[in-house]
Symmetry: C2
């Protein structure tokens, strides 16, 4: 049970967490903080938070749990600002899609308060942003990865784990580097590829016609290109090593496709497509088993 | 009104067309032909076709409309086999995602019967295959592109157009080369990129874990990698020039992304993501206006 939860950044993730914890009866009071005043007011109007604070120190003082749900590039400043106001017994966690850079940032920004920070990442989201996009079931059946620090107390980790379990998520622990590599492959790479495809087509001369002739497959494929550009700029920079490595590996994959196509190698293409279909079908099958 | 419709390949597209034309009262009798006997029997059981023929000549004799809904690589043989049995007044059309190669094939295979062939392509589909995946509303509000030949009679074109309009589609005409370039960009490229991504990840050592940590965005992005491998092998070979060109242009786009990421150029990334998001959001907006 959380007495006072401070949500820093009441958007899709922060708002959804507030909603589900309230529904689950896991929290007494929810305080929202953020830079966008219109969005904060909307969070109050929707009943997602009980009240808002316009200064970060007021938002965290008296909170037993602080959740950072802002783009990873903003976390250095936020952590440094809140550090002096963190009380004994306050646990801070984040929802950033990159853990290595966030932990490095936290070490510098929090100093002696570092043990309070338990890094986390819910593997859930949609392409939409802001509190209006939030909904209580966003984390149901989804994984949340925690990458605890050697400095964390077990009790702090347990409180973050309990919070996410109350939100309906399946909580797992993972090493920081491993997390960043896996996410580069399954999330960061696809987002960059989708942005890249839409950007490429939008620069074709007859773009209006091109998009008019796009069918459902294209819409599915590019949906994530509607995601928040600032959030993805920050992720791209924060996880640059693993992402650049995946982009280069993907270029190798495209090289193989081009070569098979230019050589008229139908067998190679069919094998590749069949292997990919089997892997993708297995994923759908696992989803259905879970439902 | 079609007296007897012969559907060659009663799968997702052929089956859906049969369903909707029957619902619309636009057809008297539907004859199915295909290589997969289990699928054909299923088409009869589902009432998608009235009866099946196990030889192609029997299927087309007496039909006033023949629709080829098989992978484009199989069309040369099918067209050559049916050519002697095509009667005056029979119109043949196809649903292939590539028009240049199909037309070249048809010129050779049909010879003097070429005027009967009106090339077409419904811009609709799902990642599923077979008659079980077919449904009557597949073409509702979707575009169908016709790329008529100089040899076609206006009346033949009109009959194909009427058929697709009865199926709820919006019918447009386009040049063959233009069609193949537009589709390479909006359909063929995304399918190859999705197959490539799933293939790349399936070869990572810890693939089971990688897929377990994939969220909704990845599922959307890779859904089309569950598409039929033979169909996509054929499309890749038939439209090889335009597809290879798009794959190379896409590699240029990835080069730009890698360079921005490795140089820590957040401004360039944010600009690119913002431009792509605007284009993708406009697409969603147009969809919603149409609904």
């Amino acid at each position: 049970m959380i007495q006072r939860l401070a949500i820093v950044g009441v958007g899709l993730i922060g708002g959804s967490l507030a909603r589900v914890l309230r529904d689950a009866g896991h929290v007494q009071e929810i305080v929202g903080y953020g830079r966008g005043l219109a969005n904060l007011q909307r969070a109050v109007d929707l009943g997602v938070v009980d009240r808002v604070e316009t200064s970060l120190n007021k938002a965290v003082i008296g909170a037993d749990m602080v959740v950072l749900a802002t783009p990873v590039g903003s976390m250095a400043e936020i952590l440094a600002t809140m550090a002096p106001y963190l009380e004994d017994g306050t646990v801070v966690t984040d929802v950033g899609s990159v853990k290595g850079a966030v932990v490095t940032t936290a070490r510098t920004a929090l100093g002696a308060k570092l043990p309070a920070f338990v890094p986390g990442h819910p593997i859930a989201g949609t392409e939409r942003s802001g509190v209006d996009a939030s909904f209580a079931s966003l984390f149901a059946g989804r994984r949340v990865v925690l990458t605890p620090l050697p400095e964390n107390r077990q009790e702090s980790i347990a409180r973050v784990r309990d919070m996410w379990r109350s939100a309906g998520a399946d909580v797992v622990e993972m090493g920081i580097e491993h997390h960043d590599e896996v996410l580069a492959a399954t999330s960061h790479l696809p987002h960059l590829l989708a942005y890249g495809l839409v950007d490429l087509l939008s620069r074709l001369e007859d773009q209006r016609e091109v998009f008019a002739f796009a069918a459902g497959g294209f819409r599915d494929f590019t949906r994530i290109a509607s995601s928040d550009p600032v959030m993805w700029r920050d992720i791209s920079l924060a996880n640059h090593t693993a992402i650049a490595q995946m982009l280069k590996a993907y270029q190798g994959e495209i090289d193989r496709l081009i070569s098979a196509i230019e050589n008229g190698n139908g067998d190679a293409l069919q094998k590749l497509f069949t292997r990919a279909k089997a892997a993708r079908d297995a994923m759908t099958h696992n989803d259905q088993k879970k439902e």
